[in-house]
């Protein structure tokens, strides 16, 4: 082993000694000659080569071969990068793993490590077992491959391995074994004992992870900012981690609401970041996490303390329409809107929704049913806040005896100070006492109270006052009721009696009263006998999942019991609130494990062992390939090889070239096309016929077509041809689906097909003839519109010649084409109907026009038509039909438009 390099078969390297010998040998052997038959060799006899250098292999070729050979030898010697260190012991092997949250970030490395250890164990034929210290089970030694297959099911736990040596010992076998301990490097009390346990059984090696665990403490809220604290086990160098604040956006989708960098100073173990979030956002936070750290320790859930509270607002009088600023609820709404969910409605409607707070503004009398419901609700932990007002002052509520829903008894009438009809000046607030929840709030100097309801002096009064005026009269009183409490503000909720609702102090006071948020004091006390249902739990990797079937947890265990399989970190729900139990508590301190002196500690091998013999062997192969090329070049054979490869490449081109040639031939001039039927006679006649028609067009009209082309529907492009002549034979193959789609595209884009059954029979629409039947089957998949026999006023009868008969070799009268639209009517005074606009996509007939048109190269007709002069006349008419047809295809309904000329002239007054 040389540094990070090792060989599996180092003796093979001796082969390198042979290289210089090979150098000498190879140098002497020139490249092999080519033998060529060459009759003119007689001329060569007597000639001499200029140089003799090439007699020997050139040095660079030799070097190439040497390199190839060296690569081969080294490759076969089995070089290994980062070779594994030696194994431990000889007996059964126990792999102990902490499998805690701290192992989670580099869990794959640990699994790899175990896999490697197990592979080695299997190779040595030893048995093995895995002991998960976070969830220990009875250890049974099995074959290492068996154990290897269970690795995939191993996951880190979201809690600390808290089992002591005593609880683990019974799980181990009595026989001796060796141990490899994959530790997570967090200090625990139980560690030393367990080390002692393992060393008593055999050798122990501890494998340490290369990274140090890092964790996020639960978020704190102090004076409006959220404080995130990260902790790490080692006091290492400066480090920056990013904390993410996760929450839901208004649409309810999970989002990252904010990010903050937590910067560890050099050799600091904790670091904090302050995140200032609007209350709006803060209420939506679900959890905090360290970015990029997959660990339960890097996640801390937030609970009710951040939840948006539901506040029910109920006013005594709602009828002061239009006076918004005088509404008793106006200032409350303004103060609470940003932080709380406001509910309004009647009490009985609202209470089932379990609001956190109910505020009664100047509500004096409450109906008995409402009162009972409200009392129940307060006793279960509700917070009832009442504000005084003229109604309350004028009523008898809590006058003679203390009302259940009032903290104090009231004097009749209340008092007014500082008004026009009273002595004295409006009263200011007295400083808050230490036991008041408002303690510490700065007093606003401009708050004065001009009216209030007065509490009856009472033995309990002093304890219930939490805020008073400067003259000592109570301003805010409070009394607990059941689990809840009742708070009375002795002034109105609007600015009628005091300027308190106008001041910032009002908002702070509401805040302190936990109306707008729950400054939760989460204590185990008061949770006895309750059951908390897990809603979401965090797994070892820090992933938050729904806690589907996990059982509920007793309230007294929720805060203090160590986490474990039956108390997983997560969010727990009680009757009215949610509590988050986080893995890292505010007190958790992370430390690096200290191992007993003499423990065999090694760093976990993170870089995998990489054999790279294969790379060297392929390098050797590549060099030999280069050598082939170079040798060919040396012996003059390279040119042939290149030509051969080039010829192979060129073989691919002709198909394209052929298509291009076809496209050029078909599109550089107008070309008529006929469909190839695979019947040689029919195809020959069709070609000759189109040739004859092309000639006729050339001499009689301004259409000057080139020679016609036979079209294979399967391979040729149709778009170049304005007209396809399709003679029908009974035995022609039907086009493929692909060809039909091409044909349909052709018909839709304005092409025309002239079907010719060549039997003079289709006109009767009898499918009696084989050609007719074939036409029907051929045309069935085509996109053909409704047809009709060619009407006497169709544009085809006058596109060039005036025709009424369309004979070919036969003289059947009927030719079918696209039917005229239903509403086509003959206009008064017009010779023709205004028929369809486009070109009929098909013309169907059976007159065997191609035979009548057919013309050989010398321009003489190929087939006799009819008899004598009448026959020649028939041929002439056939040509005229062809000319009309091509004209119709090329000019469309141009001749049809001429019918409008008289009307236009008439309108112009000429």
């Amino acid at each position: 082993m040389i540094g990070a390099l090792g060989f599996t078969a180092p003796w093979l390297l001796l082969g390198l000694i042979a290289l210089p010998i090979l150098w000498v040998l190879l140098r002497a052997v020139p490249p092999a000659p080519i033998r060529r038959i060459f009759p003119s060799v007689t001329l060569l006899l007597g000639l001499k080569d200029d140089e003799q250098v090439s007699d020997r292999t050139p040095w660079w070729l030799l070097l190439l071969r040497m390199l190839a050979l060296a690569a081969l030898i080294i490759g076969l010697a089995g070089p290994v990068l980062n070779p594994r260190s030696d194994e431990i012991g000889r007996g059964p092997l126990l792999i102990a793993i902490d499998a805690s949250w701290a192992s989670a970030p580099d869990w794959p490395t640990r699994i790899d490590m175990m896999d490697r250890v197990l592979r080695d164990t299997a190779r040595a034929g030893r048995t093995a077992a895995i002991l998960n210290l976070s969830a220990p089970e009875q250890v049974t030694f099995q074959s290492a491959t068996e154990v290897q297959s269970t690795l995939a099911g191993l996951n880190p736990s979201a809690w600390e391995p808290s089992h002591s040596a005593q609880s683990i010992e019974p799980l181990l076998s009595d026989d001796a074994f060796d141990t490899v301990w994959l530790s997570d490097e967090i200090a625990r009390d139980t560690r030393n004992d367990i080390v002692g346990l393992f060393t008593s059984k055999g050798a122990l090696r501890v494998l340490n992870a290369p990274s140090t665990p890092i964790a996020l403490a639960p978020a704190r809220f102090e004076s409006g900012v959220t404080i995130l604290e990260a902790r790490r086990a080692t006091n290492g160098p400066a480090q920056t981690v990013q904390a993410e604040v996760h929450g839901k956006d208004p649409a309810g989708a999970p989002r990252i609401l904010a990010r903050a960098d937590i910067v560890f100073e050099n050799s600091a173990k904790t670091a904090i970041a302050e995140v200032s979030l609007p209350a709006e956002l803060r209420a939506r936070i679900t959890h905090f996490a360290l970015a990029g750290v997959r660990s339960a320790g890097a996640v801390t859930l937030s609970d009710d303390s951040l939840r948006r509270r539901e506040v029910a607002l109920i006013a005594g009088r709602e009828d002061r329409e239009g006076l918004e600023l005088l509404s008793p609820l106006h200032y409350l709404r303004q103060a609470l809107q940003p932080n709380a969910e406001l509910l309004e409605g009647s009490l009985l409607d609202i209470l089932p929704a379990a609001p956190d707070v109910v505020i009664l503004a100047d509500v004096a009398t409450i109906a008995p049913a409402e009162k009972a419901a409200l009392t129940d609700w307060v006793e279960e932990g509700g917070l009832l806040v009442r504000f005084a007002g003229s109604r309350l002052a004028g009523s008898d509520v809590s006058r003679s005896s203390e009302d259940m829903l009032m903290p104090v008894r009231l004097r009749a009438g209340g008092r007014t100070v500082g008004g026009a009809m009273s002595w004295g000046t409006p009263k200011a607030l007295a400083p808050f006492t230490e036991d008041s929840p408002f303690f510490g709030l700065p007093l606003a100097g401009d708050v004065d109270v001009s009216s209030q309801v007065m509490a009856q002096p009472d033995p309990t009064l002093a304890a219930r006052v939490i805020a008073s005026l400067s003259d000592g009269t109570p301003l805010v009183t409070r009394k607990p009721l059941g689990e809840g409490q009742i708070v009375l503000f002795h002034v109105t909720a609007n600015a009628e009696w005091s300027s308190l609702p106008l001041s910032g102090l009002f908002v702070s006071m509401l805040d302190r009263l936990a109306i707008s948020s729950l400054a939760g004091d989460q204590q185990a006390s008061g949770l006895e006998g309750t059951t908390w249902k897990p809603i979401r739990v965090v797994n070892g990797f820090g992933r938050i999942a729904d806690a589907d079937t996990l059982p509920g947890v007793a309230g007294e265990r929720l805060f203090d019991d160590p986490l474990g399989p039956d108390l997983q970190p997560g969010l727990y729900e009680g009757k009215a609130r949610q509590i988050a139990r986080n893995l890292i508590s505010a007190e958790t301190v992370l430390n690096v494990a200290s191992w007993p002196v003499g423990t065999d500690i090694r760093q976990m091998q993170t870089r995998p062992e990489t054999p790279f013999g294969g790379i060297l062997l392929s390098l050797a192969l590549a060099l030999l390939m280069i050598d082939i090329v170079a040798s060919l070049a040396m012996s003059g054979r390279l040119r042939g090889a290149i030509v051969g490869i080039g010829a192979l490449l060129l073989l691919n081109f002709p198909a394209d070239a052929q298509q291009d040639a076809f496209a050029l031939a078909a599109s550089s001039e107008l070309v008529l096309g006929h469909v190839i039927t695979r019947n040689a006679d029919v195809d020959r006649v069709a070609e000759a016929g189109l040739f004859g028609l092309s000639q006729t067009l050339f001499f009689h009209t301004s259409i000057e077509p080139a020679d016609p082309v036979g079209i294979d529907l399967e391979t040729d492009e149709l778009a170049f041809f304005p007209l396809l002549y399709w003679p029908i034979t009974p035995d022609q193959p039907a086009p493929s689906a692909n060809a039909y789609s091409k044909l349909n595209a052709y018909l839709r884009s304005g092409g025309m097909i002239l079907f010719d059954t060549r039997d003079a029979d289709i006109a009767r629409f009898g499918a009696a003839s084989p050609n007719g039947r074939k036409l029907q089957s051929l045309a069935a998949p085509l996109d053909i519109p409704p047809l009709e026999p060619l009407p006497a006023d169709h544009v085809l009868t006058r596109t060039f010649y005036l025709l009424q008969d369309f004979p070919g070799r036969h003289t059947a009268r009927d030719v079918w084409l696209e039917a005229a639209p239903k509403n086509a009517e003959r206009v008064e005074g017009m010779p023709f109907r205004n028929l369809n606009d486009g070109v009929s996509p098909v013309v169907i007939g059976g007159n065997d026009w191609a035979a009548a048109w057919a013309m050989d190269a010398r321009g003489s007709s190929m087939f006799p038509i009819g008899r004598g002069f009448a026959g020649e006349r028939q041929r002439e008419l056939a040509y005229r039909f062809g000319v009309n047809l091509v004209m119709h295809v090329l000019t469309g309904n141009y001749k049809s438009d001429q019918v409008h000329v008289p009307a236009l002239l008439d309108r112009l007054g000429q």
Binding site: P31, A32, I34, P39, S40, V41, T42, E51, G636
Partner: protein, 290 residues
């Protein structure tokens, strides 16, 4: 390609492209066989040449009475003296001719035989007598001779390089030698001088493969003759090219010089060129040498 039938078919198609090649007779000298070439003098033949007055020694039978009746003198009708020329062919059938550097053009021997047979067909159509030098196939006329020639050309010789056959040459005949002339040039010289001595004139056509003209070889190569009796090894064939081309030019010069001394025509034909050009050249060459 080598069977008599295909050879003849190809030759016929080549021959059909030219008008019949008429070789003008210049000398009579010995060969007095009637042919279709008028010798521009009175003699034996079919075509009318002239009327002349009867001279002493003419037999009465020779008098053309129809002409004589129109005048007072007697006339004898003379006919043009028509002779047929003999053309002797020699086509190299040796192993060195059976070579082609590329499948896209024919072997040298194929091309040589095609040209030779095409020329013979033209000559025979023109009424000439065509034969092969040596004693195998003396000059004869008629279509049957074409078949015999084709049959003769389908034989290959085993020798490495051909030596022109100059035996049994008819005096003052025409001759056509087709070969690559890569063998001993002394033998060619001997044959030509021997032919010239007999008054035989003709054409020498050197047929070469394009590879022999351009020498497109590289690297270490062993060149072998077709019969593998000769071999030459080089380490850098590409460096040899210029020297080879010099020697080839020298060989051509030697042949051309030989031809000009003996009054023959010389050309070089490459197998990648059209056979028609070679035939055209032969047409003109045989006309000139006549």
């Amino acid at each position: 390609m080598n069977t008599p039938r295909t050879l003849r078919l190809n030759a016929e198609s080549e021959a059909s492209r030219l008008p019949p090649l008429l070789v003008r007779a210049e000398h009579l000298a010995g060969t007095v066989l009637l042919g279709e070439h008028g010798r521009r003098r009175a003699g034996m033949g079919d075509d009318f040449w002239q009327y002349r007055p009867v001279q002493l020694g003419d037999s009465r039978r020779m008098i053309d009475w129809r002409r004589s009746a129109r005048s007072d003198n007697e006339f004898v009708r003379e006919r043009e003296w028509q002779v047929a020329q003999s053309v002797m062919l020699w086509v190299d059938a040796s192993a060195s001719m059976r070579f082609t550097s590329n499948t896209s053009h024919p072997e040298k021997s194929d091309r040589a035989r095609l040209i030779a047979l095409a020329a013979s067909i033209l000559l025979i159509k023109g009424g000439e007598r065509v034969g092969v030098t040596g004693t195998d196939l003396p000059p004869r006329r008629g279509r049957a001779q074409v078949l015999r020639l084709a049959e003769h050309f389908s034989h290959n010789a085993d020798v490495e390089y051909g030596v022109p056959e100059a035996r049994a040459m008819l005096p003052h005949a025409r001759a056509l030698f087709i070969s690559d002339f890569m063998g001993d040039i002394d033998a060619v010289e001997q044959a030509l001088t021997k032919a010239a001595d007999r008054g035989v004139r003709g054409a020498l056509m050197q047929v070469l493969d394009p590879a022999e003209e351009s020498f497109p070889f590289h690297g270490r190569t062993i060149f072998e003759s077709a019969g593998k009796t000769l071999r030459y090894e080089t380490l850098k064939a590409n460096d040899l090219r210029d020297k080879y081309l010099e020697k080839l030019a020298a060989r051509k010069d030697a042949l051309r010089h030989l031809c000009s001394v003996t009054g023959w025509q010389f050309t070089t034909h490459h197998t990648d060129a059209s056979a028609q050009t070679a035939l055209l050249w032969l047409h003109r060459a045989l006309e000139q040498s006549a």
